[in-house]
Symmetry: C2
Amino acid sequence: MTEPTLYPESGFLRLRIDLAYDGTNFSGWGKQPDRRTVQEEVEKALTTATQSKIETIVAGRTDAGVHAIGQVIHVDVPDTLNLDDLSYKLNRMLDTDVRVMKVAVVNGPFNARFSALRRHYTYKILDGNQTISPLNRLDVASWYRVLDVDLMNQASALMLGSHDFAAYCKFREGSTTVRNLQRFEWSRDSAGFLIGDVVADSFCYSMVRNLVGAVVCVADGRFGPEWIEQTLANKVRISDSLVFPACGLTLRQVDYPTDDQLLEQAKVMIGKRDNGSH
Amino acid sequence: MTEPTLYPESGFLRLRIDLAYDGTNFSGWGKQPDRRTVQEEVEKALTTATQSKIETIVAGRTDAGVHAIGQVIHVDVPDTLNLDDLSYKLNRMLDTDVRVMKVAVVNGPFNARFSALRRHYTYKILDGNQTISPLNRLDVASWYRVLDVDLMNQASALMLGSHDFAAYCKFREGSTTVRNLQRFEWSRDSAGFLIGDVVADSFCYSMVRNLVGAVVCVADGRFGPEWIEQTLANKVRISDSLVFPACGLTLRQVDYPTDDQLLEQAKVMIGKRDNGSH
């Protein structure tokens, strides 16, 4: 990976683009040969619209089948580009399962991935072996037993804070699995769906789906709550059979610092880089 | 059409089946050659599951692209059939855009179409030229101007009651266009969608989408409210360009009499039939 930039090169503008997508028919965000990915579709549309080769930097690299309603990317486009109807043009080119929700010019320092403070995900479950009504089928996972919201919340609370989440992540060479889980709460909405609200500074590969699987294990009475803490401490990867499906997961929101805080963050990052090269 | 029956033939059980479907990829309910229709898919699954030729009678013959969360059909199946896991078996065979929500044996007189007292539809609009988020895209129509809920309600109220809705229906040989519109109200939900609640004894072909188009015309200021009443009185078909798209329309609920009322209704129907044959 190239070094993260906070400003575009001279002659370019940096755009923040907010995206939403139904991940059902995508092999995730990140480009892969011979697969339909959100990144490739969006970069293709941007390249056509701007008539220059565009590369995206994304806040949350969602896995295959995972959805987004508040994904954020940045791109650098030639500063001669007419931005008036860019969003409209892009949506005309894109399939209806991915939409540009907003395009904004960034003036200060900003990097969609490295400036992000935290990511918010939603996990949606229909429990008790209920049939999912087709109009609701895109973003829900089903579970055969009835799940108790209080038990789910008790188990989830045990994971809060900064931990090495190695037991709850697919291993990837050279990347840390230490994360700060800031919120992990469940509630039942008016339509009877169980809604999980999961917030962390960032997430490892398949981490939310692992966390949900572990919590459901406890809510189902398969393991006691102490199993959550032991697994976290032992850092031994839980069984793949406990991982919940991608279809229930949606990237809801990415938080960024205010403009002033972004300027402070930029000074620190540039300071670190200077130190590193000495 | 054969005469409506209220009871199955001897050796058969009558089942009431509640269905939900995403109409996007269906050419409507009713069977048509070389088209994918809900009726054909459901009858195929029922015929396989029961190993006998099954024909369905439906409460609301939805048009191409129209959805349902509370569609009701009845079918007569051999009384030797094991009903225990019929709903599960059917859903295993059906594609995920149509689901059997409930199967129940009917003991008294019942006909999904002729016993129905009224049909409830929902029409969902995202106005003000907003982009529809892909996870919400299945059952929403978009409109470029902002629509005023109060104006929509004022215009809708003018259509309430029993009228000849010829101006608001596609003409079909040999069928009446007199209907009793019992409710036509708009509200804005917490997510900002404009929700139309439309209830009548029954609806003519494309009637809800015509009514919505007419009301939006008035809310947009294109015609005054008096135009609604004039059109209703003149019975001159409104322009097809005013008809709203099928994708925003969902059959939400079908109301039936109580068991006692069904028995009374049956006596009247059978009485009428006897008179007719004299």
